[in-house]
Symmetry: C2
Subunit: 368 residues, 2 copies
């Protein structure tokens, strides 16, 4: 694995040097993990002129950390109460002879940026921008394999829940049970707070579980994901409780299903982000649900649950092969409830069979 | 409740005006919640020259949010894809005639700060510093009551776990069960990721639960907390598994207990933060465990689990009445395990009976 991280750092260094900076300071935790194999709390990565250093605020053994740091990378451990690793890293960059340092201005606070400036006044601070996030968009097969396992775990947890009795249980309890099952099946933990929504809550994006109990006739919408070796996936499904869904429930379900399929079918290398969004959005729009739709139809996943690209009306850019994204349209009718359907897929060329669906739980409307 | 938030905002406005700024922009979520009653995702609070506004990136009904916004506060809701609420707030500050705006430089990123500067070039940007965090240090009785209920919930969850069979169960499962019990007893959720550590892992601060199973003869250390109405408390206890603790276990336990008691006994209005730290630390130090001790012996709790004050060797300042803090010394012996004991207490004057212990689970060494 060590070569993977070294290669990633080389690619970043090339970008950085091309941008005129001799050294780079990576502080955003998911970016540190991507380049170093692990991101101990507070740690930053210095791509120095002479060598790369993972600068930690304490011995990594004593800190709760996911992943193992790349063994080819030297650790620089600050003493207890040794201050901000980002400030120490700027000092180390200067010691290696760098006269300029690219930092993540979208992550560093103004206060930390100023502290770096004062400890290393000779260092010209530039903006690294989203360079690491951009490297992270296209995944290698190792990364996709982690997402695939995470998706299997989420499918299993959801499948088991559907076999149990649901009526009378609260949203909170169902969410906790799903999270327990994720861990039972080998997840590091949930990829994000599990959402379970019943009745009038159903179909709300990111709904936080309440003490509302599942009742006959409800829509039940569930959104969960597993983290596996740091990689986060997402699945969302909506069910009806009871033997016979009402007509409005069937119609709404079919509509959201059609929108989600339209979005999925647009996933191909070269497809514009906004066209994927539009394909799904216009199905809902032409049925009169254009108002109140979420700002995006899907997004990238990886070391973070919400990463580039954004599949949204104003997003610029095109999909590449090996980019995992969600497609997750939904409609929520205030006071009545609604439907969300959410999959994680990997963009693949048509020659390879088209988009690879990672979350394979059925999307038929199940009456439970 | 509305008056509480209005009074807090008035106190902040006074500080801010005294510092020469006409308006203030609060972006750190816990600070927004403290002043506005709720912090919808991404929302910021503008203390304007004419009126205060909670600037949200979407209708608050559609967003998963804890707490209710103060009804006396006007909401300013941006359209979908309406950009950064902090940038919009700077624009609104200018529209109200402000020529200067204090921002939270320790929270705003360099990129957002720059975006504010470009949308409102006539606005002088100053630093609000930790003004809101400082207001948050001393709690009112309503806040302490939330912490007290949270502590009761954590005590209950822990008490129930101790009645069950522990040998053979994994750290992960015990942690999940504790979190389920927290929610069962009415918590919003865990205050932080529950830590369960057995055998050689025991006594490690912030240990993330693994698949290690509890065995006879182990130390078992547990650290958990409940969030209740946004307020977060913390309790940590260490137990021995089996009928007869080894001598080294009894000695180590007694030592950490003595250190923790020494820290607790120092809690009084007017006591220096560093003296509380030293009281506990020197007990461990004089027994030869000075190396490898954590950077702090305790910290404030409230809307965040780790807030001011820090009870640490170099901390400046003195305790006030009605400040809730943890006292949580621990010793971890690599390869063998260790002990942590952690309480949440509220500083009270001696006339009121001295420090109020919120987490009342026994600190006797229980053999389970």
């Amino acid at each position: 694995m060590s070569e993977v991280y070294a290669t990633r750092r080389t690619r970043l260094r090339e970008r950085c040097n091309a941008g005129g900076s001799a050294a780079a300071l990576v502080s955003r935790p998911a970016n540190v993990r991507y380049l170093a194999g692990s991101a101990p709390p507070g740690a930053v990565l210095l791509l120095g002129k002479r060598e790369d250093l993972l600068v930690c605020s304490g011995p990594p053994d004593d800190r709760p950390t996911e992943g193992r740091p790349d063994e080819a990378l030297r650790l620089h451990v600050l003493p207890a109460a040794g201050g901000d690793p980002a400030v120490a890293a700027a000092d180390l960059a200067t010691a290696q002879g760098a006269d300029s340092l690219a930092v993540e201005e979208h992550h560093l606070t103004v206060a930390r940026h100023r502290a770096i400036g004062s400890v290393a006044p000779g260092l010209r601070l530039a903006d690294l921008g989203n360079a690491v996030e951009q490297l992270r968009v296209v995944k290698d097969e190792e990364e996709i394999s982690c997402l695939r396992i995470g998706a299997e775990i989420a499918d299993q947890a959801l499948g088991e829940l559907l076999e149990s009795i649901l009526v009378g249980r609260t949203e909170r309890h169902l969410a906790l049970e799903l999270e327990r099952r994720l861990v039972d099946h080998g997840a590091d933990g949930p990829a994000f707070p599990t959402s379970v929504a019943t009745g009038a809550n159903s179909g709300r994006r990111g709904h936080r579980p309440t003490d509302r109990r599942v009742e006959e006739g409800d829509f039940l919408s569930v959104c969960l994901g597993a983290t596996y070796r740091g990689y986060r996936c997402e699945i969302g499904r909506t069910f009806v409780i009871g033997t016979s869904p009402a007509d409005w429930q069937i119609e709404l379900y079919d509509l959201v299903f059609a929108a989600q399929r339209a979005g999925r079918e647009m996933l191909a290398p070269g497809a514009a982000y906004r066209d994927v969004d539009r394909a799904a959005r216009q199905v809902l729009d032409s049925a009169g649900y254009g108002e109140g739709l979420p700002a995006l139809i899907g997004h990238g996943v990886g070391l973070e649950i919400d990463e580039d690209p954004q599949l949204a009306p104003t997003a610029m850019g095109k999909l590449d092969a090996c980019v995992p994204v969600t497609v997750e349209p939904g409609v929520h009718l205030p006071g009545r409830g609604g439907v969300r359907i959410d999959d994680t897929l990997v963009v693949r060329p048509e020659a390879d069979g088209g988009p690879e669906l990672l979350t394979i739980t059925t999307k038929e409307l199940l009456a439970l």
